[in-house]
Amino acid sequence: MADAKTFRLQCPTPLNDSETVQLAHGGGGRRMHELLEKLLLPNFSNDMLLERHDGATFSIAGARLAFTTDSYVVRPLFFPGGDIGTLAINGTVNDLAMCGARPLYLSSALILEEGLPMETLRRVVESMRLSAAEAKVQLVTGDTKVVDKGKGDEIFINTAGIGAVEHGLAISPKSVRPGDAVLLSGDVGRHGIAIMATREGLSFESTIESDCAPLWAPVEALLAAGLEIHCLRDLTRGGLSSALIEIAEAAGLCISIDEALVAAREEVLGACEILGLDPLYLANEGRFVILLPARQAEQALHVLRDFPFSSGAVRIGEVLQRPAGLVTMKSRLGTERILDMLSGEQLPRIC
């Protein structure tokens, strides 16, 4: 690229090919996708990776398995409704659940910063134990490293998970069909606001708790009911919008939703108003979308609503043939617009 001093914004390319890693490259938005498309997928291309799903599914000696991994670098470590330990278990459990796999075994790699209070580590490990018990998974292997003071940020956790696929469905964006219904398992945005409020010292009349939760139980029930699930996706970084855009792009179809049907708590909406954020892009840790044939939507909602973590499930939209690769939304005023993936994380507005 041009020398920084002479570079005059004549061409956007140098800004595009960033010479350094920026936070946006991990923000779940467009920049992260660029990193995947340009660096990671070309280097490791294979059919399983190209599914672009939350985990890979494959067969070994006749058994269908799902395999996934995720790293947890949340700050603060403890927040209302959970901590880095609950996230590290539930996040990986949920990635397996989104493959339609029964979560079975997890690995855990801890990267600890020298000087971390042992009490903090005990609390995190206790959370992991409780979350693993709740999700009925076993932590069967692990690793621990300690880095010099200042070379880490208290605790980083990586977990990987293996699950069993006990059905014949191909749960993947590629299975999505025009006419499918789009279901959402509950209100959005609580995790994002809970973290932001703790991190920035913002307080509201009532505490907003993260929605962090294990999602295998409702998925298992959907599968047991014999429903023809086409795609599942948990809403993490980037929120509902990014999850739907990823599915629409991978499926080459349009997802159309109705804004009025997407619920968020009053406190979340209030925080969004104050900070100039859009709840549709806020992070979640216990919400997912289900795409399946429209004729099965009612039955699926019925099943979902029996579970505490998906009792607020609603149908928010449908899949259309065109415009391919886009998510459109009917606004509360009845007008239509598109949902675009953000570059990185949402930034609070000036005024």
Binding site: L23, R332, D340, P348
Partner: protein
Amino acid sequence: MKYVEEYRDAAAARHYAAEIARTVTRPWTIMEICGGQTHTIVKYGIDDLLPKAVTLVHGPGCPVCVTPVELIDKALQIAALPDVIFCSFGDMLRVPGTLGDLFRVKAAGGDVRIVYSPTDAVQLAKHNPGKQVVFFAVGFETTAPANAMSVYQAKQLGLTNYSVLVAHVLVPPAMEAILGSPANHVQGFLAAGHVCTVMGYEQYYPLAARYRVPIVVTGFEPLDLLQGIFMCVLQLEQGRFEVENQYARSVRREGNTVAQELVAKVFRVVDRKWRGLGGIPQSGLSLTAEYEEFDAETRFGLSEYSAEEDPECISGSLMQGEKKPEQCSAYGTRCTPDHPLGAPMVSSEGACAAYYRYRRLRTDDRVTIGDANRG
């Protein structure tokens, strides 16, 4: 949500849209000043509800968009210094100057922090006596009181390690610049509600009279905008050019006089360069003599630095209402929110970013823009 949902009611919106359609007999061009209003219009599709005869053009009221590149360059140079904590509102971090953007400085090791209030930056200065804390004081009259308060507090606390990089701009001189331009075709204004909450709206009477243009102080919710447009259209149809206040729940004629006094104590009015518009006389703020010790440009020896903006970005024509984002050859192809050429594509309040985020669909039956975005 109480006191917000009421202003987003679909039935009431349709009612106002129908009233506007009934009132309009010929084409009118109305400019909303504030980027927050642009955002609401595009997010809710307000212009889709209007009759074709009413054209909305988007004014210069996005503070991020009008901050000149040289001030952003100054911010980048200060933020890159060791022992500096550079504080900014979030959406300023992605705006490119000619030397990069604040995110890049952060990635290269600069201590760049997003704050929610300038007084948070004062607290940082108080708790980090070994560091120079600099706040990027960006914005219109709306953010000026809080920014002034931070400087006032710093002086009270006797802080010698706090300073502000002042990029404040004022709305009425920009409106006058637009109205005075030979190319102007704006026939009515929706004035920025929150600017008027601070400043009141007496300043607009001479403008309305001199240029025979209706000015309606307008809020930011969908119904505020529809009502403001209706009031403006009604004046135009009746041949009136008055200053009216749609946003009476927030705005008083005299504004917030306590805030004005604080602003007048800390800041003085100066000539200012606007990104896209060029220099406008008496259109910005700078620190008064009493507070000039808190001027970051002086403290870091950057007063003489200058830079020119990218000639391809049409933000000037855009903010004067001469062009719409789709009329820019770079829009959606070479210029996207991920790779902005100009500021209106960066801020969520910028007209180009708002168009791109919410309505790429309709300018783009080809779907190629979606592909370009992906590449």
